[in-house]
Symmetry: C2
Subunit: 472 residues, 2 copies
């Protein structure tokens, strides 16, 4: 499971050799360590186009990190932010004085005010002088408006354009381990920015880059949530929790305060019990393809906790073969485990109204579900189905319950360790960060969805893939 | 511009060498040759799940090609098609008798009846026995329903699942030069299938694979159109028409009967005149970034033809540099030529109501606009903007006017011929068909959008990229 090349090129000798031979030099990504560390450490530059709506909200969130804040000044296309700078005890940074710009941990740009192609110039005026100042494992976040909700085609075009920009920026800064994201915020959803800004600016989003997230306005304002243990008091169900990504999800949700019910097949009971024990959680040995399993699960949650807050459908299998050679049971199993079983479990939970107010459902899709894959017609079909399910159910959910998906790319697990070396190395390197992700990278993304403050995040599919080259 | 490797591996010696050395062996794609050739030549197998809505419509279209039609019989998950087989003078083909299956040019599957994950099994039952029978440059087309219009999350999931399936199939059959597409048909849009089935089953779609197309129901039934020269009587404007893809678009629309106004910058006037002359069209030397150019164009179309039917925004430029090193005018030019200028031209045409009933607007986006690209923040931004523009304007258009985009991948042009060999070879091979496309592949896709029968095709973005690995 170790990426020895990554370790090697980050030694002095490895750096030198890689430089001489012109080999890729992925950096060691910063990841989250202590529960009480600030979500961002280092200097943050905030800026925006004229008429932006989110600058104050961005500054309010950023200043809760222990960091030094700057507001961009200079080019006339940018918002005049001096009053904000004063109220937030931040410094103005004149972008025209390019000789004295500091190293910056994050660049956050409010593009919500942009109305057409010409006004996109504000992006150039903000990023051009400072993009080379971005630190190792740095962060770029752009806030725009969802194109389908823009009134004019010219504005929709400009906000869709942000996506091409951010994806390109991600590809340019990835070699520093830095990431870039686009948040499409609905008008009036400024109070829903917090959990997403905190996640995407922090080391928790280490392996997420080039993603577009929709943030919707929700009826009520934000809930209260502890920054250190935001899931305190929540009950979580995690399927496939005995190892790999599922184990990491269980650990991460428990770290954030949740009581976790770890589910896996009876054959994995020993490992499952160990995971559950290590996080003071519960274990539930159930085969989710068995007919009565939805009721067994619902009974367990109802009897022990009277309901559930967080449901993470992580259990999944691959049964690879090209379509012409695929045995029938390979098709049946992949579709049933990866797609049908989670629908049946949800149906049982909804039928008894067991998912509580501001609850969360998270499904694990896959890069294959987005791009398709050779030898995976069954798996890609099921994982694409998961996306369709998430998008459709998101439109119907009540009680501020949300449903979202993660789509992992190349993650260092026992599964990827068993790949032939050529496939493994290609998978590892063919992304902007030049390395595979860790199970915890998927788990942190799920924890962001599960945060009680993420009510405005609904129906999203976020890839955890280091901005893999591979897509649709 | 020649792909010498492709030529070489298709010689006897090349085949042998490539086999010995385990090198990629892309096949020569079949392309359209004579205007009166049938749209498909060879055996076509049609099948569907139970309760499908499109089987008869599919058969009606396919039988207008000069071909031998079979209806799938056998597995119980499939529709009983014997009455259709009789009425279409087609043969039933029992898929359970796997020893005697013929070579098939196309497999067309009606999945519209599928209601949930379990019913997806019909795909396996249809494709598993026959997928290895697919011919060189063969075709797979699956018809489903648009997930966002499915009533239940389970049905939406199943129809979104088709996308993962089709993209995987495309990756498996690409080495034969065969392609796979998914058409999401709105309920009641059966009469809108014709132009799309004819295009995706024909050699005209040689370099299009792994695409998803939405086909909407439209108020009126289909217009009459000649199969040989469907654009007869139409006036087309093509920007950037002096060479490369634009030149090919002009030629292809003229072949299909349109009178073409070829537009390019005054500096390209000589080449432009030659193109116009060769197709008995008109040439218009205009710099579309000039302030008065929209009026000059509108005046020309109004005075000469009283309006325009087909507007193809093909003119585009690249000005590559990483963001930190990008001169200001690189940004300005890319955004203005690729994005803002086409909006201004459309505005002028709409303001004078010059685009006629059942008119067509086609924009040329790019793979970079979807995936982003290193060194192309400006270009990717502008080409992503084009997608946003198309999607937004599609919702507002009246008079059965449509707007769609093509997103070319690696196309063999002077631009790609000038690339360094490493970049060029990677671009050429990193797709399911293992080769670059030709300008005519983009042009044929545009001609399909322009077909008077394509009224139900609106707001789509179709990649012409051989199912490139690279995506978002």
């Amino acid at each position: 499971m170790a990426d020895r090349y990554l370790d090697f090129v980050n030694t002095p000798l490895g750096k030198q050799l890689a430089g001489t031979l012109n080999l890729p030099t992925p950096v060691k990504l910063q990841r989250w360590k202590k529960p009480d560390q600030p979500f961002i450490e280092g200097k943050v530059l905030i800026g925006g186009s004229k008429d932006g709506k989110a600058l104050a909200a961005i500054a309010d969130v950023v200043k809760t990190g222990s960091t030094e804040i700057f507001f961009a000044e200079g080019p006339t296309s940018l918002a005049n932010s001096s009053s904000l700078a004063r109220s937030h005890k931040a410094k103005p940074l004149n972008l025209s004085e390019t000789s004295s710009l500091p190293k910056l941990k994050a660049l956050v740009f409010d593009a919500t005010g942009i109305k057409d192609a010409a006004e996109l110039k504000a992006l150039y005026d903000f990023f051009h002088p400072v993009i080379r100042q971005i630190a190792s494992s740095g962060r770029v976040v752009v806030i725009g408006s969802e194109p389908s909700k823009c009134r004019t085609p010219a504005k929709a075009a400009a906000h869709r354009a942000l996506e091409g920009f951010v994806r390109s920026v991600g590809k340019e800064i990835g070699k520093k381990g830095a990431t870039a994201q686009l948040l499409w915020m609905e008008a009036g959803a400024e109070n829903q920015l917090e959990s997403s800004l905190r996640f995407f600016l922090s080391p928790k989003s280490a392996y997420v880059s080039g993603q577009v997230v929709k943030i919707a306005k929700v009826g009520q304002g934000k809930s209260a949530a502890s920054a250190v243990a935001p899931l305190t008091g929540k009950v979580a169900l995690v399927t496939g929790a005995s190892r790999g990504i599922g184990e990491s999800i269980a650990h991460t949700l428990a770290r954030d305060g949740a009581t976790v019910v770890c589910l896996d097949i009876p054959a994995a009971m020993e490992a499952l019990n160990q995971v559950a024990k290590s996080i003071e959680g519960h274990s539930l040995g159930v085969d989710i393809t068995e007919g009565n399993s939805p009721d067994v699960i619902a009974d367990f949650l109802q009897d022990k906790f009277g309901g559930v807050d967080l449901v993470v459908h992580n259990a999944g299998i691959t049964r690879d073969k090209t379509l012409g050679k695929m045995p029938e049971h390979f098709w049946d199993m992949a579709v049933d485990v990866n797609m049908a079983a989670e629908e049946r479990i949800n149906d049982a939970l909804f039928a008894r109204d067991l998912i509580r107010e501001n609850g969360r459902i998270v499904c694990v899709s896959s890069m294959s579900g987005i791009a398709g894959n050779f030898g995976q017609t069954n798996y890609a079909l099921s994982k694409a189905g998961v996306i369709g399910y998430v998008e459709a159910l998101a439109r119907q959910l009540k009680k501020q319950i949300t449903i979202n998906a993660v789509a992992p790319g190349f993650i260092e697990t026992q599964m990827t360790a068993a790949m032939p070396i050529g496939t493994r190395e290609a998978g590892r390197r063919m992304n902007s960060l030049g390395q595979g992700g860790l199970p915890v990278d998927v788990a942190e993304t799920i924890a962001w969805y599960c945060n009680p403050l993420s009510t405005g995040i609904n129906g999203n599919v976020v890839r955890v893939c280091g901005q893999s080259l591979i897509g649709k």
